[in-house]
């Protein structure tokens, strides 16, 4: 785990980005060891994938090297040693790592582990907690992603004039024949895999969020190799924005339906003829909503970032 320290030391931002990617892969590996497979899944897709991608794009725009000035070094050291001391102090009393008798495993969690099978009817407890017991948090999470999409749109979107469009945006990688062919072979299975992850979330690790990221990744791969313009013809930006909103609304509509039938918001049990059935349907629809929002927001973010790259390159040349 010394990678992080290396990140702190290196001034080459590019190397730092890659190290952050490795760091995130490592921590995802750690999550697997710690039994958090869903988390590992997400961290791999997000930390190593999307955020590295975004950092790279940004570096492309902002330049690779960091200046050597570090004005706040002293203060930083003081602040972090105080915080570290505090944490250290706090950690002295903590329950022993992995102790099954620790309070964290006693109060709320046992119900999820013991009863979620009959109450929600899904093998993957994480999914049932995520989408049902704490479904409202997940709704909030979807909205957070949506907010980020809006933020990026508000900051980076611009109206392209006609001349801009004619100048090929994010030009395709012409010379790489092998890359083009391999990607063409790969993209359909990736999309299929995304669908599999989407609907397999009940049984194994996965779910709407991860599926959305994978789906977006496939399209991003396409955009990187065949050019942004071609991609934008296939996936219209306006449609993506619409879909991003639609995903949130799908999630909310489940809540509204249960509200109108006299139950609490997001109470899925009304959706089927019995409670467990309803839970099943509810989680399915909700995950679909999450998937749609996540995929489209990721695409919105990526497209806006990379069209900025073009815009700046045009203005430089």
């Amino acid at each position: 785990m010394s990678v992080a320290i290396a990140v702190a030391r290196t001034r080459d931002l590019f190397a730092a980005t890659m190290l952050t990617g490795i760091y995130s892969l490592l921590s995802a590996g750690f999550f697997v060891v710690m039994d958090a497979v869903d988390v590992a899944f997400t961290e791999a897709a997000v930390g190593a994938g999307i955020s590295t991608l975004l950092m790279l794009t940004t570096l492309k725009l902002t330049g690779q090297y960091e200046s050597s000035s570090r004005p706040l070094q002293r203060i930083a050291l003081v602040v972090i040693s105080v915080t570290a001391g505090l944490l250290f102090y706090g950690f002295l009393d903590m329950p022993i790592f992995g102790d099954p008798a620790a309070p964290i495993h006693q109060h709320v969690a046992p119900r999820y582990i013991q009863h979620s099978a009959e109450e929600v009817g899904m093998p993957n407890i994480v999914t049932s907690v995520l989408a049902s017991y704490r479904g409202y948090d997940t709704f909030g999470e979807t909205v957070v992603i949506f907010t980020a999409g809006i933020g990026v749109l508000a900051l980076l979107s611009y109206v392209r004039s006609r001349e801009d469009v004619s100048q090929a945006a994010l030009a395709p990688m012409q010379p790489h024949i092998i890359l083009r062919i391999v990607s063409k072979i790969l993209i359909p299975p990736i999309l299929l895999f995304a669908l599999y992850v989407q609907f397999h979330g009940d049984y194994g690790p996965g779910g709407g969020f991860q599926a959305g990221v994978i789906f977006a990744a496939a399209i991003i791969l396409y955009a990187m190799i065949f050019g942004l313009d071609v991609t934008l013809k296939v996936v219209n930006p306006a449609v993506i924005q619409f879909l991003a909103a639609l995903g949130v609304l799908i999630y909310a509509s489940v809540g509204i339906v249960s509200l109108l039938s006299g139950h609490a918001f997001l109470d899925y049990s009304v959706l089927g003829h019995d409670a467990v059935h309803g839970q099943h349907w509810g989680i399915l629809i909700v995950e679909l909503g999450v998937g749609i929002t996540v995929a489209s927001v990721m695409l919105v973010i990526f497209f806006n970032f990379s069209s900025r790259v073009d815009k700046n390159q045009d203005s430089h040349s």
Binding site: I178, L179, P189, F193
Partner: protein, 105 residues
């Protein structure tokens, strides 16, 4: 697990691990980018193939698991060389010269 299968699995896994390890040593020790690339790409593909086959034998007739392993294998088989190819091409384009034997060591 039966004796024969056990031995077979072990052979696959251990030889895969050996390849991976040698590849890593190569990447660390070889003098320039192109030789390192050579070490990494060959052993990576072969080594992961072997290890995944070993896992396939371990999977014990769970079809979904086996299918996934095959998927991973195919995926690595396709992407590994492709990525390395693209990498070398980029390096060559950018003017990174291989170190040739003529140089004094």
């Amino acid at each position: 697990m039966e004796g024969f299968w056990f031995v077979l699995t072990s052979v696959f896994l251990i030889s895969g691990a050996f390849l991976i390890f040698t590849g890593a040593v190569g990447v660390l020790r070889f003098p320039d980018f192109y030789t390192r690339m050579h070490a990494s790409s060959l052993t990576d593909t072969m080594g992961s193939g072997l290890i995944l086959t070993g896992c396939l034998l371990l999977a014990d007739h769970e079809w979904l698991v086996m299918a996934k392993l095959v998927m991973i294998f195919l995926f690595l088989l396709l992407t590994g060389p492709t990525a390395n190819h693209a990498l070398v091409k980029a390096a060559l384009h950018s003017g990174l010269k291989p170190k040739l034997g003529a140089e004094p060591s």
